[in-house]
Structures are given as structure tokens and as C-alpha cells.
């Protein structure tokens, strides 16, 4: 008879879950140079990332966080906070969820969603630093583009649906109701579907 198997998570993830790194102590964010918050409690996950930045070199010297989230949210943000230290703001901004997942030794598909919030919050913190320091021109907007005019579905909605498990156009429609009225957006939506599948799942 076999003994209990491991969790659905890698050892690396388990390690970061058991002893998360760089959790922000207390409640005061004033001492940090940039603060980013994403998600909300009703959806089951929320993430806050705070950073300290060396003004001359724009290098991140400290990164701390808090989360309301599951094991993968905790572990992926813990590892992200390690990854960004010593990186420039620009380098840190371009860390992708996939790199975080790789660093953890992989994530189950249905958990990718939980790890995306961490780097979203990091990007929000970086933008917040730029705004605070009068560098509004550097703020990188992640402007949503409307793909389905009828149902007002954006590329962000498509990405979210992919993260929640949509793999085919039909599943995308089930998740978002996209293309259920005039259907003119089908081609563009399919291209984006493939793109996000590739970005997040290497498919």
C-alpha cells in the first residue's frame, strides 16, 4: 500500500508556503516608496506589494507583501518578493507570471490564476512609485482594449477567462458571453485566446 502522496504543489512551493519570505509586518505602509494593491476579498484573493527603491539607480532594495489568498498566492508572492530585490524597476515590471511559476517548479493549471495577482500588485507598486515621484510619464498603463463591442468584453477579460480554464472559443464564450450577439469579434478573440494560452500555459 502506498503512503499519502505529496500535495498538488511542488516542494519549492510548499517551502515558501510554510515559511513565507518578506511578509510586511504591521499595518503601516508609510515607510515604503511604492504601494500596489490588486484583487478583492469577495473574489477570494487580494494582494498588496510594497517596495523600497534606491532613487539614484532605480533599483528595488526591498519588497514586502501581504495577501488574502490560498497557498499558491502566498508562495508565488513570497518567491516574487525574492526575485525582484536587486532588479531595476524596469526589469521588475517585466517579470511574467510564467517566470514566477517556473521559479516555483510549476503550478497546477487551476492555480495559475492565484499567482497572477502578485505581479499585478508589483506592477501597481512600481507605477505608484513613479506617480509619487512626479514621473507620471513612466507609468505603464495596461489599458484594456474592447474586443467584443456588443457585450463589452476586453482583452483583459479574455486573459482572465483563459486563467480560469477557458481553452477553446466555445469555453471562452461560456466564461465571458463574448461574441454571443453579432459574432464579428470571433477572429480577433481567437488570436488573443491562443496568445494568452501560450503566455500562461505554454500551449
Amino acid at each position: 500500500m502506498l503512503q499519502a502522496g505529496e500535495w498538488a504543489y511542488t516542494e519549492k512551493l510548499k517551502e515558501h508556503f510554510m515559511s513565507p519570505k518578506n511578509i510586511m509586518q504591521g499595518e503601516n505602509t508609510d515607510e515604503f516608496d511604492g504601494v500596489g494593491m490588486e484583487g478583492n476579498l469577495q473574489c477570494g484573493d487580494q494582494m498588496m506589494v510594497v517596495i523600497k527603491v534606491d532613487r539614484d539607480t532605480e533599483v528595488i532594495t526591498d519588497c514586502q507583501w501581504k495577501t488574502y489568498g490560498c497557498a499558491s498566492a502566498i508562495a508565488s508572492t513570497s518567491i516574487l518578493s525574492e526575485m525582484v530585490k536587486g532588479k531595476t524597476l524596469d526589469q521588475a515590471f517585466h517579470i511574467s507570471p510564467k517566470e514566477v511559476a517556473q521559479e516555483l517548479g510549476g503550478l497546477p493549471d487551476n492555480k495559475i490564476h492565484c499567482s497572477v495577482l502578485g505581479d499585478k500588485a508589483l506592477r501597481a507598486a512600481i507605477n505608484n512609485y513613479y506617480v509619487r515621484n512626479g514621473m507620471d510619464d513612466k507609468v505603464k498603463q495596461e489599458q484594456a482594449k474592447t474586443i467584443c463591442q456588443c457585450m463589452s468584453i476586453t482583452d483583459h477579460d479574455i486573459e482572465e477567462a483563459v486563467l480560469k480554464g477557458a481553452r477553446t472559443y466555445f469555453e471562452l464564450q461560456e466564461h465571458t458571453k463574448l461574441g454571443t450577439v453579432c459574432g464579428q469579434c470571433k477572429d480577433e478573440a481567437e488570436v488573443l485566446l491562443e496568445k494568452f494560452k501560450h503566455i500562461h500555459f505554454g500551449a
Binding site: 473574489c43 498588496m48 488574502y68 489568498g69 490560498c70 502566498i74
Partner: protein, 398 residues
């Protein structure tokens, strides 16, 4: 310390059931065979049938052995969508089904499927304790209704329904009544005549019997059609060679429950009261879900706002404690427990809930260990939670 507080998910075999199964392990005959091997198996299957029937006040020939509670529930619901005019005399014109929003997925998903196949399905609301809205039921009942299916005890929050009253209302309108009693049989007294039900679902592994076996009570004279066809087993009501060892185990499990249930359930109720009081005293900002009194004696469902369920479950697992959660993250979907949402609990409370379900092997030492570990676990998670930062939802309550 190893603490198994997930007895609503499944239970360990009762030692007596285990003993009986080990002794019977050599029994391999097919109960349908006329020779000695077959007759041995037949005798044991029929003995188990009598025990199960006796335990719920039914006749032996009203018990159909099946592969699981889910199969029993699928069987009953599927009776009511049939294209044939021959199959279900008397109910063939009545294709509406009423069930509740807090049923087990095997009822909800089957209902959805039947709706796609032409049935009209209506879902009853529950109040904040998980009790079915009887006024709403009265309004829904009509000539078109063929079946009403209401679970007797809820697996997540433990709330008990007044099945006898519901049965009476259902029969007055000429429909049939089913109750999924998987969490009830063997935990509270169940008598089919007193309840007045036409169908009732039982599962073995929730009451210290083996997995992969259950029973469906079908009242004598009620129209019936097999869900699994192609064999004369179970008087033509469920094809497939009988799971003889499983059935034997179910029979023994029921016998042991008959002996132990009353005292055992009292013991669980007092342990739950201590657990509840301890949690209340040691952890701030908590909510108990389910009915405060009309509930399974071993089931305690509690929400810890600001702490996410899967994280609670896994940190407890690291300490050797097993519980389950209504959190979406642990289940693979992104929606939290449909049961908690149906009781009006907001999504955050549903995401941050755990279910503690005690069983016959649970001890006071385990309850004390839980009361030691749980507050530390919740504190640890809340300390890293955004819900408690300045301006956060729960910042003021700390």
C-alpha cells in the same frame, strides 16, 4: 498528533466492520448462482438487506443496493425524464422537479442535465441557517410537479430539514418525495414511514462502512425504472453483479450504528459544544454557519474572515489536522461553496470557511489539540492578510 476531523467526507471502517470483512474476504460466489458458493453470497446479501431495511423501518424488498449515494440520487432523478409513455405510469405527465440550492452536486448537476433534456427544474431557497423555505415550496407545488428532492442533513453545514412536513405537502399535491439521507442515516433516527418519503438515499462510507456501496429505499408500489440496465440483480432494479463484500460491510455498519448511535451522537454533540465555545473564546471575528441547534451533532462549519480557506486547510494539514473547506481555491473551481452562498453568507466569509466534522474515533484530546493549533493558525494567516491592513475590511476589529 494526527487528528481526522473530516468525517463528513468519509469515515474509517468500524473495527467490527473491518473484522467481518476480513473474515468474509474469501466469499466470492455470485449471489445469482444456484450452487453453494452462490447461495452463501446470496444469504449474506439478503441478511444485509434485512439489517438496512430494519434500521430505517422499511421492508426488505424496498431496499435496492447501489454503488454509491450519488448513483442512488442519479437513479431517482432520472426516473422523471422519460420519453416513454409506458415507463412511469401516473407520473409520466409530471416532468417538473423541485429541489434545493444546497443539495449535493450529484443532485444539482443531474437536475441541470435533466433540464437540458426537457424537465422543468425549480430550486428552493434556504434561510440563513440553511432551512428550506416552506412557503416557497407551497407556491411551487402544482399539478406539473413529479418529484421533490430535499436532502435530510446538509453535508457542509449540517442543517437538518423537516422532511416529514415537506413529504406531507408534496403528497398533498400528488408528487413523489425523495430525500438524500446520506449524512443523516446512522447519525439521527430515520424511519421511512414517519418521514413519509417515497425514495431515500443511504451511503455506507459515511457511517464507518466501506466505500463504493449504498442503498436506495424505494417505497412499495412506487413506479420505478432501473438506472443501470441489463441484469436481473436486485429484482431487476439495478443491473450488475452485487458488490457482495461492500453490501456485507454496509449491513454490519448499520448494525453497529443501531447499537452505538444514540450514545455516540450525544458524545459528539458535547465535544462540538466545547469546540464551538473554545473557538469563540480564542479567536476574534468568527461566524458559525448552519443552524445553531437543528444540525448534525458532529458538524461544525465556521468562517474566519480575512483568512482564506485553502490556506487554513493546508496549514492545519502541516500540523496533522484534517478538515475541509468551502473555499473555491481548494476545490479547483473559483466559486466558493454554493451551500454557504445559498444561506446568504457573503463571498469573503464563504472563501474563509472550514468544516470540522467529528466522528466516532474523535476524542477530547483531539478537540483540545485543535483548540491549541487553530487560533495560532488563524493568527498566522491573518497577520499576513491584506484584510487587516490600515483601511482594510477588518482592520477595525483588531
Amino acid at each position: 498528533m494526527k487528528v481526522y476531523f473530516d468525517n463528513n467526507a468519509t469515515t474509517p471502517l468500524h473495527p467490527e466492520v473491518k473484522k467481518e470483512l476480513i473474515e468474509a474476504m474469501g466469499m466470492f460466489g455470485n449471489p445469482s448462482s444456484m450452487h453453494a458458493w452462490g447461495r452463501e453470497a446470496r444469504a449474506n446479501v439478503e441478511d444485509a438487506r434485512s439489517r438496512v431495511a430494519g434500521f430505517i423501518g422499511a421492508h426488505d424488498d424496498e431496499i435496492v443496493f447501489v454503488g454509491s449515494g450519488s448513483e442512488a440520487n442519479n437513479t431517482v432523478l432520472s426516473l422523471f425524464v422519460c420519453a416513454s409513455n409506458q415507463c412511469i405510469p401516473g407520473t409520466k405527465m409530471r416532468s417538473s422537479i423541485i429541489t434545493t440550492k444546497i443539495e449535493h452536486p450529484c443532485v444539482l448537476e443531474t437536475s441541470e442535465c435533466l433540464a437540458h433534456r426537457g424537465a422543468r427544474v425549480k430550486y428552493l431557497n434556504v434561510d440563513r441557517y440553511g432551512k428550506v423555505d416552506l412557503d416557497q415550496l407551497a407556491g411551487m407545488l402544482g399539478d406539473d410537479v413529479g418529484l421533490v428532492s430535499v436532502m435530510m442533513a446538509n453535508n457542509e453545514i449540517g442543517t437538518l430539514q423537516d422532511i416529514a412536513t415537506i413529504s406531507k405537502m408534496v403528497h398533498e399535491c400528488g408528487a413523489l418525495m425523495h430525500t438524500d439521507a446520506v449524512q443523516a442515516v446512522g447519525k439521527i433516527p430515520v424511519d421511512v414511514a414517519a418521514l413519509g418519503v417515497d425514495f431515500l438515499t443511504i451511503s455506507a462510507h459515511k457511517i464507518y462502512g466501506p466505500k463504493g456501496v449504498g442503498a436506495l429505499y424505494v417505497k412499495k408500489g412506487i413506479p420505478y425504472c432501473p438506472f443501470i440496465r441489463g441484469g436481473h440483480q436486485e429484482r431487476g432494479r439495478r443491473a450488475g453483479t452485487e458488490n457482495t463484500l461492500g453490501i456485507l460491510g454496509l449491513g454490519k455498519a448499520v448494525e453497529m450504528r443501531q447499537l452505538e448511535m444514540e450514545a455516540e451522537e450525544k458524545r459528539l454533540a458535547s465535544m462540538k459544544a466545547i469546540l464551538k465555545k473554545g473557538i469563540e473564546e480564542r479567536i476574534d471575528d468568527i461566524y458559525f454557519n448552519g443552524h445553531p441547534t437543528d444540525s448534525l451533532s458532529g458538524t461544525l462549519n465556521v468562517s474566519f474572515p480575512g483568512a482564506e480557506g485553502e490556506a487554513i486547510l493546508l496549514y492545519l494539514d502541516l500540523e496533522g489536522i484534517a478538515v475541509s473547506t468551502g473555499s473555491a481555491c481548494a476545490s479547483g473551481s473559483l466559486d466558493p461553496s454554493h451551500v454557504l452562498l445559498a444561506t446568504g453568507v457573503d463571498a469573503e466569509r464563504a472563501h474563509g470557511s472550514i468544516r470540522i466534522s467529528l466522528g466516532r474515533e474523535s476524542t477530547m484530546q483531539e478537540v483540545e489539540y485543535m483548540l491549541d493549533i487553530l487560533p495560532k493558525t488563524i493568527k498566522r494567516i491573518r497577520d499576513m492578510s491584506t484584510a487587516y491592513i490600515k483601511g482594510g475590511t477588518h482592520a477595525a476589529s483588531r
